[in-house]
């Protein structure tokens, strides 16, 4: 273990030192190759121009190399692998996609993912908005927001243990140590094995993600609400609007852009949801989702890379519209700069 700590510290020093040395050294080298000082006027101008051509690439170079290896190449390779067999050696055409159309587990996963998509982003955004509006009106709102925000720092696995403890089931009549069943038994209901109830178990898993992500929606929407000009609200009050009208007709339309951002961010997260399903049910009892199914295929029986890649492509296809929208939006905003 001491060796491990030592090597981690060593890597930090080498990594940071290496970066510093690279950036400093590459710049120095460039300045020496095309000197701009101590040479004649035209030569200096020419050399400055050459420096200007090269230097940006020295700056973005390392980032570009890493992005290429870890993201750009894999995207292309995954697309290619989805046309290959399980070992990734021979071309099988569309066989993996044909399998995808017929496979029962995959269909179940897509349906479950759609269910997650329908419930989680909407719930987080709605709850986040409500809490943002309410906490703005009370003196201890900041503390309340901090506490609701807190689960965002908790890992999905940690959150799964927390909620598994809440859903814990003991036979009827026994002492329930899971909070949910204890409440139900207290009011004379029948304790349930929540995470294995077909169909409904999906919702019990979704609650975990909603619990984590509502704080995110709340913080972003709260700051957008602060940006609403006072005058519009005052005008509405003078015109005799009630609080609900003010909320729906004055506040919500003005922060529509932010709501869209929160919604899409959580949508992307939902498409990738993996940890919660793996730790809670591992896809049993009809709770499978795409990301967990993919992980399963990556390692099941030595791994089937073709099918795994195909599932990754399905997730990617769902993300593409959001990606295009983001790029357009960013182009509009950065415009000339």
């Amino acid at each position: 273990m001491a060796a491990q700590i030592f090597s981690a510290i060593f890597v930090i020093i080498i990594g940071v030192g290496g970066c510093v040395a690279y950036f400093w050294g590459a710049n120095k080298l460039l300045d020496m190759t095309f000197p701009s000082r101590g040479v004649s006027g035209t030569a200096a101008v020419n050399n400055l121009r050459r420096q200007g051509l090269v230097r940006p690439w020295l700056f973005v170079g390392p980032a570009l190399i890493i992005l290429t290896i870890y993201l750009i190449y894999p995207v292309i390779a995954t697309l290619w692998l989805s046309f290959l067999d399980r070992g990734g050696t021979s071309f099988v055409g569309l066989a993996n996609y044909e399998w995808a159309l017929r496979d029962e587990d995959l269909r179940r996963s897509i349906l479950n993912n759609l269910l997650w998509l329908a419930v989680v982003p909407a719930s987080c955004t709605f709850l986040g908005l409500i809490i943002a509006v309410l906490t703005d009106k009370i003196w201890w709102g900041t503390i309340a927001k901090s506490l609701i925000f807190l689960p965002l720092a908790i890992s999905f696995v940690g959150a799964s243990v927390i909620w598994k403890f809440i859903y814990e089931y003991r036979g009827e009549g026994q002492v329930q140590i899971g909070l949910l069943n204890a409440i139900i038994q207290h009011f004379g209901g029948q304790p349930q094995v929540w995470i294995s109830l077909p169909f409904w178990n999906n919702f019990f898993l979704m609650i975990i993600l909603i619990w984590i992500q509502t704080g995110f929606a709340m913080v972003i929407l709260s700051s957008a609400l602060r940006g609403i000009p006072e005058e519009t609200l005052e005008a509405a009050v003078i015109d005799g609007a009630n609080p609900f009208q003010i909320f729906w007709k004055i506040m919500v339309p003005q922060i529509w852009g932010t709501i869209a951002v929160v919604w899409t961010t959580i949508t992307i997260l939902v498409l990738k949801v993996f940890d919660i399903v793996l730790t809670m049910t591992n896809g049993q009892w009809n709770s499978q989702v795409l990301a967990n199914l993919m992980f399963d295929w990556m390692f099941r029986g030595g791994g089937d890379f073709g099918r795994g890649a195909t599932i990754a492509i399905i997730i990617m296809i769902a993300v593409i519209p959001i990606m295009v929208w983001n790029i357009r939006q960013a182009n509009k905003e950065t415009g000339g700069h």
Partner: protein, 384 residues
């Protein structure tokens, strides 16, 4: 905002209650595992954690000593002792000898077991069993009893999971993964962000578009090719394919698009005049970056560092793909996932382990919340 406030007392009161309910729902689950992790492991299964300050009662089974321990007293054969032996004393409220009726007799009464055999169990656990005939057999009488114990809090669970369940080791592994994976991307991203914000070169607009596109590319797209690549590199050089170096670089790669995006939007917003006056004074891009941009960018660098730290610490997927599951590599999240499988019912282990995995993010989060929120706002509201 004040104008939009409902002013009646009832509506103000309603708002306080509503927020209180939300806060309760959002904090009670975490409180549950914190309280449970500090409880005695027998009490965790005997009563809900919300009852942990009350005495817990439970029904247990035990066995009296075998016939060899009997003595003769007043013409009777007698077995005497204490059910709890030397272990912690509890209060017995009732006892029985049949599993179907474990609390048939109140404590301190004499139960008639037939054939003149009597058994008395007192509240403190002491018992007397008497019979006119000699007891026989190697196995003592099976008895059942309901007992209650005062609330008991302990840090034993922490000791157990840290040193016998391997959580302590995993904690170190998580730190080993997280710190380099947080530090390495910062400088690389900062240089790229500066170039994309303030330097003019062909392909810049395309690069920015690519990075914004990569922001949302699912991690899943990278896993299989990288796994193949790592296996290939491992075989080629005859080294293990699952290494800390591999996961440091993987996290660096996955964190870079967000890092560059976040830093670029901040650096692009720095005042143009500062850069230009420095340039007129003869400073090169490198000098401007090191002497002006980096110091001014401290808040956004801190934001990114917190994000990356939380994301790497909390990650399970990347760790499961790129690291092994042996004790020298398994990180906290993966260990917790493994414990959920192997220690499914041992809540004292699970709650304690879970609390250890979330304590570091919570500390980071609470002490640096300002930077975290700023990064969150910059990362998602502007364009993203």
């Amino acid at each position: 905002m004040a104008v939009a406030t409902g002013n009646s007392f009832a509506s103000r009161f309603g708002i306080h209650i509503a927020v209180l309910v939300f806060v309760a729902i959002w904090t009670i689950p975490t409180l549950g595992i914190l309280v449970s992790s500090l409880r005695d492991k027998d009490q965790i299964v005997a009563s809900g954690w919300w009852n942990s300050f009350a005495s817990s009662s439970q029904t247990e089974a035990g066995r009296l000593p075998p016939a060899s321990a009997q003595t003769q007293k007043d013409g009777k054969f007698v077995l005497e002792g204490n059910i709890f032996g030397d272990s912690a004393k509890r209060n017995i409220s009732a006892f029985g000898v049949k599993a179907a009726a474990p609390t048939e007799y109140p404590a301190s009464t004499s139960a008639d077991l037939g054939d003149g055999v009597t058994l008395q169990v007192n509240a403190d656990g002491s018992f007397v069993m008497a019979s006119p005939k000699a007891f026989e057999g190697d196995r003592g009488q099976r008895i059942y009893y309901a007992s209650s114990a005062p609330p008991k809090f302990t840090t034993d669970n922490y000791h157990t999971v840290l040193f016998s369940e391997g959580i302590g080791r995993s904690f170190m592994n998580s730190l080993t993964v997280t710190i380099p994976a947080t530090v390495i991307p910062i400088l690389i991203a900062a240089f790229a962000a500066y170039a994309l914000a303030w330097m003019r070169f062909p392909g810049r607009a395309l690069l920015i578009a690519v990075i914004i596109g990569l922001l949302v590319v699912p991690l899943q797209m990278s896993l299989i090719p990288l796994l193949k690549l790592y296996n290939g590199v491992g075989t080629f050089f005859g080294v293990p394919s699952k290494t800390y170096l591999g996961i440091w670089l993987a996290h660096t790669g996955f964190g870079l698009p967000f890092a560059i995006y976040l830093l670029r939007s901040y650096i692009a917003g720095l005042p143009r005049e500062i850069m230009e006056s420095a340039r007129i004074d003869g400073a090169s891009d490198f000098e401007i970056f090191v002497k002006i941009v980096l110091p001014l960018s401290f808040p956004v660098l801190a934001s990114f560092a917190i994000f990356q730290f939380l994301w790497v610490w909390n990650d399970l997927l990347v760790a499961m793909v790129f690291l092994g599951t042996a004790p020298d590599q398994i990180v906290l999240t993966a260990k917790l996932n493994a414990l959920l499988g192997s220690r499914g019912g041992n809540w004292e282990i699970l709650t304690t382990s879970a609390f250890i995995t979330i304590i570091v993010p919570l500390i980071v989060f609470f002490s640096l919340q300002r930077y975290f929120v700023r990064g969150l706002l910059a990362g998602s509201v502007k364009g993203g």
